[in-house]
């Protein structure tokens, strides 16, 4: 993980003291709410239905055990003993008091954690593949570059008051776990024909009211130029992005209105002016950042240790098959911890769970934890021989549900239970679905199927790109849900198609069951995934099935 030095620590404490001053001015009346609002937002502080909400960044999804323990401590001391992991590598506290926030921030800053730019119309927390640096086949560790950009965008003097929020995601794998195509800027690390490191740059992806998949504006920007290129994109956007209509202010609308080619030309023209400037990422800087990511001292271990072979408990085998992924080092594995227990709120973890996971990370994963956009955690460095013992420990704290990537691994936003913008609830819908699909054999038979739920069109639950997407809407004061199918968030990202009229809260789970049954009846082979069946068949057969009896 990335170790902060004195310079970063000085900066964080200056940031906390600035916010302390802002809170004091707000509480004394020197700042009006209108003036305070954009300041608090730039520190991740929202006002929700019941209380303030505090969103803390987990840059590129990497946490140390000490940091996770501190997140738990803050949950206990300043909140109600739990936190919610979001779809953008953040954790949210739902019950924080404004007057206590500066203290909570100070405690987090002590372990190098902050909430800078987790909200507001600025460059948000930069996200990356949660398996960065440990998954086989990466051209480089994307976190190095995420950190280069994190530093560059932190309190950027020119780009802190953009037309709208701005999200950047990075991956270095062919299989995209960072959903780069639905980000304002998506970066794919690659090597060109000469073997040089660089990025494919996609711009203009985003969900919300008008979903767009990002378009490639430059197929190869050399790594040394990535900061100047991003500056060129941001500068064009800051000058030309719309500010007259909040729904048209994202960069995706600018790219759409100009056309990707014209937009790319504007960016290239700006880039030409600043490319050879102080923005060049020199080798020194990369080496320095690289040196502050610690990589474990891996041992030479057997790929198939006896401990693994001897553990024949069928529950273990199921979990092993579902939640454990290959590692770049032989004898090691990446273990996903499901925060989607049957009947639970997706992405929620209690302080006790966080503490226990931190201890297990120390014992089994070189003290490192990862957070993914699917709202699950991962231990990225587990020796395979330790898997049986780890599984028992994870099972005891309720994070070994073997449903990763299956139908009950639901991504859901907080919805109307917490969120002041919501039209409808998300969490109870997710909970009911996890109960309907609680049977593991059934879920395994269905195979890979992502359900995403958002409580309003802001799409925090990424419903457009769920294999099945559920969107809460309001009709005459009642909760209704629109269902889309066929979306996906990975390298083949596409926005799902609406199947028909919205259905009531009480009908959602039945409708999803119908869709799944239709799929099981229609799939060409047992290994034809839901998403592939929808691509082959279109929405019509599913639509017929759902509305035939309704």
């Amino acid at each position: 993980m990335y170790a902060y030095d004195e310079i970063d620590r000085a900066f964080l404490s200056e940031r906390v003291s600035e916010f302390r001053d802002q809170v004091a001015r707000r509480l004394s009346g020197e700042l009006t709410e209108d003036e305070f609002k954009s300041l608090r937002l730039m520190n991740g502080v929202y006002l929700q239905l019941h209380a303030y909400m505090f969103r803390v960044a987990i840059p590129y999804g990497t946490l140390s055990s000490a940091q996770l323990r501190r997140l738990a401590a803050v949950a206990r001391k300043y909140d109600r003993g739990y936190g919610h992991f979001t779809t953008r590598q953040n954790i949210q506290y739902n019950w924080i008091k404004l007057a206590e926030l500066p203290d909570a921030m100070e405690e987090l800053a002590e372990v190098g954690i902050h909430a800078i730019q987790t909200s507001g119309n600025c460059v948000r927390n930069i996200t990356a593949d949660q398996w960065s640096g440990v998954t086989p086949g990466e051209v480089d560790d994307p976190r190095i570059w995420a950190e280069v950009l994190r530093q560059y965008t932190t309190l950027h003097p020119e780009f802190s008051f953009l037309p709208r929020k701005f999200k950047i995601a990075i991956t270095a794998s062919d299989h995209d776990r960072a959903a780069i195509k639905i980000h304002d800027i998506g970066l794919k690390l690659k090597r060109n024909d000469e073997g040089r490191l660089g990025f494919e740059v996609l711009v203009g992806g985003g969900l919300g009211r008008t979903p767009f998949i990002g378009k490639t504006v430059n197929a190869f920007v050399p790594a040394r130029d990535i900061v100047s290129y991003v500056e060129a994109v941001l500068r064009v956007y800051n000058q030309c992005g719309r500010r007259d209509n909040i729904y048209k202010a994202r960069i995706k609308i600018l790219v759409h209105e100009l056309g990707a080619e014209a937009f790319a030309r504007d960016v290239e023209a700006e880039w030409a002016q600043i490319r050879d400037s102080a923005l060049v990422v020199d080798d020194d800087m990369v080496a320095d950042i690289r040196s502050r990511f610690s990589y474990p001292d891996y041992q030479e271990l057997p790929e198939t240790p006896g401990e693994l072979v001897r553990e024949t408990d069928p529950h273990f085998r199921t979990w092993l098959h579902n939640s454990v992924a290959p590692h770049k080092e032989p004898g090691y594995a990446i273990v996903t911890l499901s925060l989607k227990p049957v009947g639970g709120a997706p992405g929620d973890a209690t302080a006790e769970q966080m503490d226990a996971i931190a201890d297990l990370a120390d014992r089994y994963s070189f003290g490192e934890i990862r957070v993914g956009h699917e709202q699950n955690l991962a231990l990225p460095n587990v020796a395979k021989r330790d898997l049986p013992a780890l599984w028992r420990a994870l099972d005891r704290i309720g994070v070994a549900t073997p449903n990763v990537n299956l139908v009950s691994d639901i991504i859901a936003c907080p919805g109307l239970d917490y969120c002041s913008l919501a039209n409808a609830r998300s969490i109870p819908v997710a909970q009911e679905l996890t109960r309907r699909f609680a049977d593991h054999d059934l879920a395994a038979m269905i195979g890979r199927l992502h359900i995403n739920i958002s409580g309003c069109i802001n799409a925090c639950g990424h419903h457009h790109v769920g294999h099945i997407g559920i969107l809460g809407v309001e009709k005459n004061g009642e909760e209704f849900y629109q269902i889309t199918i066929g979306g996906r968030a990975d390298e083949g990202a596409v926005v799902g198609t609406l199947i028909g009229p919205a259905v009531r809260f009480t009908e959602v789970a039945d409708v999803i069951e119908d869709i799944v049954e239709a799929y099981l009846a229609l799939r060409a082979r047992p290994d034809e995934l839901f998403i592939d069946a929808v691509a082959r068949l279109g929405v019509q057969p599913f639509k017929e099935r759902v509305y035939a009896t309704r």
């Binding site: 200056e14 950027h156 003097p157 020119e158």
Partner: protein
């Protein structure tokens, strides 16, 4: 609205002149349209000229006059509208403007750091309390992460300096 320059509150020598009012002697601040309508005549008169430049107009249009303008005032119609930061950096870093770059409109203490780093050196501050706090607020951050025209050493520069020291 107090005007802050070089960390202290100063009196404003420039008189803002409406588009239809006759031009007085002395230092004046006029609109972009008035300047562009008759720039050569206006810039030849006795007394300094400044222009209030809107944030939706390209500052490249000002290039022919930069050497003769004493003040360019850039506008923040709301706290949240950040276009003038880009204009400021372009004027300083690309077009080499060396006169006074003034921030006007919704100017609060919480923007001072951003404004200073973007090249502003004069601030039409909305609240007296913010103007008085200028000095303290402007020094709030000892660390900056990105290079801009203000020439401040970035975090990376400081790290490199530390390493060089260690190496010696």
């Amino acid at each position: 609205m107090p005007l802050v320059k070089a960390n202290v509150i100063v009196s404003d020598d420039f008189v803002q002149v409406a588009d239809d009012a006759p031009l007085p002697d002395g230092a004046i601040l006029i609109s972009a349209t008035r300047l562009l309508a008759d720039a050569e005549t206006i810039l030849r008169r006795n007394g300094n000229t400044g222009v209030v430049w809107p944030n939706n107009r390209s500052v490249a249009e000002l290039v022919p006059y930069l050497g003769r303008l004493a003040v360019i005032a850039l506008v923040f119609p709301t706290f949240r509208d950040g276009r003038a930061y880009t204009q400021a950096r372009l004027l300083r870093e690309r077009y080499g403007f060396e006169g006074e770059l003034r921030a006007t409109g919704q100017v609060l203490r919480d923007q001072f750091v951003f404004m200073l780093r973007s090249g502003f050196d004069a601030f039409d501050v909305k609240k007296d309390s913010d103007a008085e706090a200028f000095c303290q607020v402007a020094r709030r951050y000892s660390v900056v992460y990105q290079p801009t025209g203000d020439g401040r050493a970035t975090a990376h520069d400081s790290r490199r300096a530390l390493q060089d020291e260690d190496a010696r």
